[in-house]
Structure formats: C-alpha cells, structure tokens
C-alpha cells in the first residue's frame, strides 16, 4: 500500500486522519466486508437460531512469520479452533491490533491478508476491529487479539463432564510440529528442520463430526502445553481417568528426532492445527473414517481410552508395557544439553 520502507507511526493510532487511512487502505481493502462499510462503532448482525459460543484469545509470538504461518493466520485459527471445540460453526470475529511504532507497513499488510485468506477458508466474517499504536519498545512488534462468535447446531454438546468410561480418544494428526517449528526459529538454536507449523483452521473437523452428536462427547485443541496438558485438563474436569498408549500417539520422525536432540518431549509441544476428540467406543471407527476424509485430519489416530480410575489422572502405557503417570508441564519446557 506504500513504499516498501513505510512504517507505522504513532499518528496511525491517533484516531485522526492517518488512522482513517490505515483502516481504509489496509483493513477495509483486504477484508472487503459489507458489515464494515457503515463504519459504525460496532458490528451489527443477526444470528441463526441455536446456542451461541463465544471465545477470545490474544496472540504474541516470536517470530511473527514462521514456516507454515504467521501471527495473522494464527490469530484466526486460534479463535476458530476454540469455537469448533465448543461445537460451534464460527460466524463472526473481531480483531484488535497493538502495534509497535516503526513496524513495517508491508509486514502488516501481509499479516492482514493472511488473516483475510484464513477467515475466507472457514467462511467466518471479520466484522469489527481496533488498532492501537504504542511507542517503540512498549510491544514486541505486533500483538493481536481476536474474539469470535459461532452458533452450535442442535444436539451438539461437547463437555468433559459427558465423558464415560470406555470412550475412545482420537487425535487428529501428529503432535508437536508447531512447537518445534517455532523453536527452530529461536536465536541460539542453530539447526534447520523441514518441520512447518501445523497452524490450520479446523472447521472441517467440526463439520465432519456434527452428525455424530451426541456420541462425540468432547473436543479440545492441544495448543500451549501440548497433548499431555490437554489430556490432564480433561481428566481433571471429567472426574474420570485417561489411559493412552505411547506407541499409538502419532509423532513425525523429524519432530521426534529434534526433540531427542534437544531433550524435549513432543507430548508437551504446542500444536495449532490439531484436535483431541472423545467419542463413544462403538462409534470410534466411523469417526476415524470420517476424519480421514478431512484434509486437516487425514492422519487421525486412536490413542487411548477413558477409564474410571484413577480419577483425574492421565496414565501412559510405555512401549515397554509399563503404566506411568503423564503429568502436567511444570515450569518452562526448555531445551537442555545435559
């Protein structure tokens, strides 16, 4: 939208003329949304009948651009996937930007375009937003907050309290890719990995599973803290236990190799395009087959089951056949050497 060295100035956040220009030339141009034409103080829309789900998340990530995505794609996927996990069809989203003075306008435009493309893929409308500029040093480049609203179809009720002993646990694909892709970009770690972030909007999974309600009991996306952390959350919220088989949890050899090298555990690495699904045992095969038809869950695998005892705990059966507790992540998950 300008010269390649154009940067965000404090005036872009002043509410004055430059703010207006930024909104017109960047956001309205790329998002091309009738809701925005009126430039009201907020978005006004009708919702179809049904229960409404709402979710919000803030996105701070270094680096802003990474293999497989960028902060914009992530900001859409994060909120979309939270809505999908609630059983909702994502409909409308708000976006709010906190931008550090001096941020390159070209980068901002790339991020905004990435958000537009990701939203279009899901069919979610970006209907309202906000932009603030803070002084250099007050933010690390760019922070984004998104919030979203979706409507839940009849009969869908995904909650951990609906779990029953014997239910099967499915993960929609290999875990740890996002965490590793980001880690490999960090300063101080000098290695090249072909791994890209799995960052993806998962509405396709939500759609594929709609017809299985109420036998799909619960869904959750294993983001920060990874698969192990989400399983622990669900175990504790359901009051039941969880048992998984180490050998059945899909992890790509590249991710496993890098984790071995760095002393990390892929079960605790973040994902941005995976879903953990709890389903009644007698429907597990059908659900797996349905998932295998969806692009984002072609490698879905059954990894475990819900058990009555010990309640609130996650057990993992190791390759050797021993059960041990798969705990929650305590402290930082940092690379180690010794």
């Amino acid at each position: 939208m300008g010269k390649s060295d154009d940067r965000i100035l404090m005036a872009h956040g002043s509410g004055g003329l430059m703010s207006q220009q930024l909104i017109e030339r960047l956001f309205k141009k790329n998002w091309n949304n009738p809701n925005m034409e009126d430039m009201l103080d907020g978005a006004v829309f009708n919702l179809p009948p049904g229960k409404v789900a709402m979710s919000t998340d803030s996105f701070v990530i270094t680096p802003l651009f990474f293999p497989g995505g960028d902060i914009g794609k992530l900001a859409i996927c994060g909120t979309v996937n939270d809505l999908v996990a609630c059983g909702a069809k994502p409909l409308y989203m708000s976006t709010a930007f906190i931008i550090e003075e001096g941020f390159p306008l070209d980068d901002l435009e790339k991020i905004v375009q990435s958000m537009a493309q990701t939203a279009a893929r899901v069919g979610v409308a970006l209907v309202t937003g906000d932009t603030k500029v803070v002084e250099k040093g007050s933010a690390d480049g760019l922070f984004i907050n998104t919030a979203g609203i979706g409507v839940i179809g009849a009969g869908i009720d995904y909650r951990p309290t609906r779990l029953q002993p014997g239910d099967r646990i499915i993960v929609s694909g290999p875990v740890g890719d996002h965490g590793l892709a980001i880690l490999a970009q960090r300063e101080g770690l000098r290695f090249d990995t072909p791994t890209t972030s799995d960052c993806a909007p998962l509405y396709g999974i939500g759609q594929a599973l709609e017809s299985f309600a109420p036998d799909v009991r619960c869904m959750r996306d294993p983001t920060r803290g990874g698969l192990a952390t989400v399983l622990n959350e669900i175990a504790s919220q359901s009051g039941l236990g969880i048992k998984v088989w180490e050998e059945k949890i899909p992890v790509s050899p590249v991710v496993q190799g890098a984790c071995d090298m760095l002393g990390l555990d892929p079960l605790y690495m973040a994902n941005e395009g995976k879903m953990v699904i709890f389903v009644a045992a007698d429907r597990a095969q059908e659900v797996l087959s349905a998932l295998h038809q969806v692009e984002e869950s072609r490698a879905a695998a059954e990894i475990g089951e819900v058990i009555a005892q010990p309640s609130g705990m996650v057990l993992i059966e190791t390759a050797l056949g021993a059960d041990r507790i798969l705990g929650v992540l305590e402290g930082e998950h940092v690379p180690r050497i010794c």
Partner: protein, 81 residues
C-alpha cells in the same frame, strides 16, 4: 548427564565443521573429536560435537551374546512365547 543422539554425516567443511542429519533435521556440528569421520557415517552428537562414530553391527553382536547367555527361554519364568 550427557544427552546424545545419532546423526548421519552429510557434509564435511573446513575447520572441522560437519553437517549431520538427525531424522531429517540438519545441524552444523564440530567433528574435531572424530577427525577420521567420513560422509555417510553415523556419529553420536552431544553439545554440538560428534563424540564417536557409531557402528550398528556392534549392537547386533551384543544382542547375539545376550541371546546366547540367556539361552533364550530357559532362564525366564514368565517367558511370553
């Protein structure tokens, strides 16, 4: 105390720098401690160094030795077969 993983040498450069492939990940390491290493060999990587050249044949020898030692089935009480 000493995390080490196997990697395959895919390139050797000057000043004892080598590139290893660890399950598809590529890492620059020092081969100062294994100066005789050649491209294609597997090494044990620790702290950014090749510590030793790996010889998988030797692992099979250990296995053969142990199978003989245990006479495979006679000594164990809960033999799975």
């Amino acid at each position: 105390m000493c995390l080490g993983v196997p990697g395959k040498i895919i390139e050797l450069k000057e000043h004892n720098v080598g590139v290893v492939d660890i399950q598809g990940n590529q890492v620059s390491i020092s081969v100062a401690l294994t100066p005789e290493v050649e491209v294609g060999q597997h090494v044990l990587v620790h702290a950014g160094f090749a510590m030793e050249i790996i010889d998988e044949e030797e692992a099979l020898k250990t296995m053969a030795l142990l199978e003989e030692m245990m006479s495979y089935g006679e000594m164990s009480i809960d033999e799975p077969r």
